[in-house]
């Protein structure tokens, strides 16, 4: 389907909406890969984890403001938007539905095509764009996901993943159990990192790698148990906990790299900000003569720019999402997504 204004060779602008979990983000990108705007508003729960309905209410409240701010930042008028993309899944139902509703309304109002984007694919695509990686093994670690993936024959295949909870979730729950609270914009995981850097004594904790897959629930239980028993300093516990979580991630990433022999390793997701994890993955990349690419925070955390960029990639391959197929997909797996643009781009060079 050609765009409503002219040929496909001209630069297109895509507005992307992200709303899978606690972030509501709007990004605007041009088809040559320039980020024109990337605005995110994060829902902060007063206590505990994310409540999906509360987060969705936040998204509905800020949607208008974030949209206007993104358009202002990009210096474009609404009628200069050629495509509207949105994160169709996976994620929390109420959050996804809020973003999808905004996207459908906007696409209909502007009379432009709608593109539903897989959130996990988007994390990989924006990572590749901002680090110039071409064909990486990706380690995506966040509060919702722990996935080791590489592209093979039309799809991002999953080479390893968590069998229970996500690594980021494991760290967050441990931090909350330890009574840590976010400080001045620092998430609790960053406080665990700071405490860990002061730890000295290594305390043995369950290390569970099953082939390419990981399990964090036993580790979380054991660490929480030690917290309650006392007897160890919080610094030593954070240190040991982090070492075990990251060593597990590193082992499986190395396994995927050895298996696929890809030229790059891409580290992304919220946990990618951790220096110790970066250090470990960098060492592995060097060992296997692969280039280490880490995605900066702005694009490693959930954001609208990644949705906009993936929307452009899909649209250029003729993939759009009719309204009647735009229902959200809560459990949409990464390896279900047909991604023809990856080989298309390689061919063009």
């Amino acid at each position: 389907m050609p765009s409503k204004r002219g040929t496909s060779t001209r630069t297109l602008r895509c507005l992307g909406i992200e709303s899978t979990a606690d972030d509501f983000g709007v990004g605007i990108l041009s088809s040559d890969g320039e980020v024109l705007a990337n605005v995110v508003s994060t829902y902060l729960p007063e206590r505990g984890g994310i409540h999906p309905r509360e987060a969705a209410r936040h998204h509905a409240e800020v949607a208008g403001r974030v949209l206007v701010e993104a358009l202002k930042q990009a210096r474009v008028n609404p009628d200069e938007i050629d495509i509207v993309a949105f994160s169709q899944g996976p994620g929390m139902g109420p959050c996804l539905r809020t973003g999808a509703t905004v996207a459908r309304a906007l696409a209909a109002y502007l009379n432009v095509p709608l593109v539903g984007v897989n959130h996990l694919v988007a994390h990989i695509e924006i990572g590749k764009l901002v680090t110039n990686a071409e064909d990486p093994v990706t380690l995506f670690v966040s509060g919702g996901s722990t996935i080791i993936s590489a592209f093979e024959a039309g799809r991002y295949r999953i080479f390893g993943e968590t069998l229970d909870i996500a690594a980021g979730n494991c760290i967050d729950v441990f931090a909350r159990e330890a009574g840590l609270r976010p400080e001045e914009g620092l998430p609790v995981a960053a406080i665990v990192e700071r405490l860990a850097s002061q730890g000295r004594k290594f305390i043995s904790l369950p290390y569970v790698v099953k082939g390419m897959n990981l399990s964090f629930s036993g580790l979380l239980t054991a660490a929480t148990q030690l917290l309650r028993e006392g007897g160890h300093s919080l610094e030593d516990l954070c240190f040991s906990f982090q070492e075990v979580v990251f060593s597990m991630l590193a082992e499986v990433t190395e396994r995927a790299l050895a298996h696929t022999e890809k030229p790059e390793v891409l580290l992304t997701g919220g946990v990618a900000a951790n220096r110790r994890l970066q250090e470990m993955i960098r060492m592995i990349a060097e060992e296997h003569d692969a280039r280490f690419c880490v995605v900066s925070k702005e694009y490693a955390l959930d954001n609208g720019a990644m949705i906009a960029w993936t929307g452009i990639l899909a649209y250029r391959c003729g993939l759009t999402t009719p309204i009647e197929e735009s229902h959200v997909r809560l459990r949409w797996r990464l390896d279900e997504v047909y991604a023809p643009w990856v080989e298309e781009l390689k061919r063009i060079g």
């Binding site: 093979e152 295949r157 082939g211 082992e251 190395e254 298996h259 459990r331």
Partner: protein
Amino acid sequence: MDDRLLIKKGAEASLYLEEWHGRRVVAKRRLPKPYRLPQLDRAIRGQRTKHEPLVIHRAKEVGVPTPIVFMVDPSEATIIMEFVEGKTVKQVLDGLSKEDRAHLCVQIGELIGRLHKGGIIHGDLTTSNMILTPSGKVVLVDFGLSEQSEEVESRGVDLHLMKRALLSTHYKYAEECFEAIIRGYRKVMGTEATDEVLKKIREIEMRGRYVSERRLPSKT
């Protein structure tokens, strides 16, 4: 001693083809991982080196071909074992005829069945860890992540990993191969135990956070 030839650099260990008292052997060395904390690294390498020969031996007892272990050195995290002639199933699988592929997969399924029946979970069932010898026998290698268990859960995870490995490496034939593996597995484990494991695999697939909605039981 420069007669070492690196034949496989894995994530967990490196395999060297070596001469050992006039014999051609594979030395499996778990080299220190510089990214890991030394204490944790020593613990993981030592534990896996001591554990692996034990399971290799038990596998033989239940009728699963594995390499002969000649020597174990936990302090150097090294195992000296037989060099198994042949090609990995990963190398040959896609090039086989449909019939041969099914035959090979049934054979693999039987071996996995024997392991599980004997209380052994391989822990890393990939086609790179199976060697097809010139005589047509399949030898299972790399028991570095294996464990002893008779739980349906562990069996399910083991086969789930096999399925995932097929999907990521042999996506064209993954489904037919896995079905053939289950046929072989059923021969050894029997219908009841196999159905139980299959049910568990579905449960594991749904437990993962981002399972396809297609695979969820439909309520309509």
